[in-house]
């Protein structure tokens, strides 16, 4: 073994125990939540795999195909709604930077209302398709298409519910450590929806218009 074997260390100069050591609770929470968001992205990926595999004309089984169900114009409207809501939440975070409780609440409230706008357009679009007879049970293609639409929509619903809870918590508890990391996590969640939407818009709605 090494030459150091017999030599005893001075425990004063080489501390054996570390004092005053704590973990950054906020950073720990946001990392975990970000990992969760990435696993969610993997779920989106799996759904996109299904959509790719079931995206051919023969997967429509004689029913409506991408050209009929993907409406890029409506989808662009949804884009505007969603991105605006994301921006509003961004303003809430800028207010948080200054510790402004009312600013945070205002931003979240705005994001929430705009998100409802997104949902309204989304729901209207889906209802229109349903009335056309384009339902998830119609074909493998439509199953994959609607599952992606609903999965994204579900995220928006969850986001809205979470915003409601956070409005109450900011009002009741103030900007405590717990509230702050949740606001940060919700930022990750909400801003992440914008990134996912880019792929939804491009590969679900626009691609349908090309072919």
């Amino acid at each position: 073994m090494s030459a150091a074997t017999t030599e005893t260390l001075d425990a004063k100069r080489n501390p054996m125990w570390s004092s005053g050591y704590g973990h950054d609770a906020i950073a720990t929470k946001t990392l975990g939540f970000w990992l969760y968001m990435l696993s969610d992205a993997m779920m989106f990926t799996a759904l996109f795999v299904a959509y790719t595999v079931l995206g051919h004309t023969f997967n429509a089984a004689g029913g409506p195909w991408a050209t009929a169900v993907a409406h890029p114009g409506t989808a662009f409207k949804e884009t505007v709604w969603l991105f605006s809501s994301v921006l509003a939440y961004g303003f809430a975070m800028i207010a948080l930077k200054k510790g402004s409780r009312s600013g945070v609440m205002l931003g979240i409230a705005a994001a929430l209302v705009i998100a409802l706008g997104f949902l309204a357009v989304d729901a209207h679009e889906v209802m229109t398709l349903f009335r056309m007879g384009a339902t998830p049970e119609r074909s493998g293609f439509l199953s994959a298409f609607f599952t992606l639409v609903f999965y994204h929509g579900l995220h928006v619903v969850v986001g809205i519910a979470w915003m409601l809870v956070m409005l109450v918590q900011v009002a009741a508890a103030g900007l405590t450590e717990k509230v702050v990391y949740r606001l940060l996590n919700l930022r990750l969640f909400w801003h992440f929806q914008a990134v996912m939407w880019v792929f939804m818009f491009t590969f679900l709605y626009l691609r349908g218009a090309i072919v």
């Binding site: 973990h23 609770a25 990392l31 993997m42 884009t79 961004g90 800028i94 930077k97 590969f203 090309i210």
Partner: protein, 129 residues
Amino acid sequence: MTHTTDNAWQHPEVQLAGGGYVVAYVVGLALMGLALWLVRGHVGSPLDLGIAMAAIAAVAAIVQCVLLLHMNISETQIWHTVALVLFIPLFILALGLSSWMFHGLYRRTMMMTVPHAAAAPTQAAKTGG
């Protein structure tokens, strides 16, 4: 390093917020609008359009990841970025390899319906025989 309740909002991750959000908003909408315009106007062949759209989507996603999700290599964000960078190849693997295997599979099993199947006579002959 632990943060007490009264100054939690001074945490460095909160301080990341800023004007980048507005830039991300404008760039994101502009890129999506551009893609919509290209598709609506049928500028180019479907293949060209497909490639252009994929490129636009990639740029938009990167802009949003950097400006909205603060993907960078600063001390606060490095692990978030590392995690994303580790995930991206897996997204590509899952999608790419799956479409590759089904592309081949459909050519060999759905000969009546896949338009390009005729272009691969040798393979088609093998399965048919």
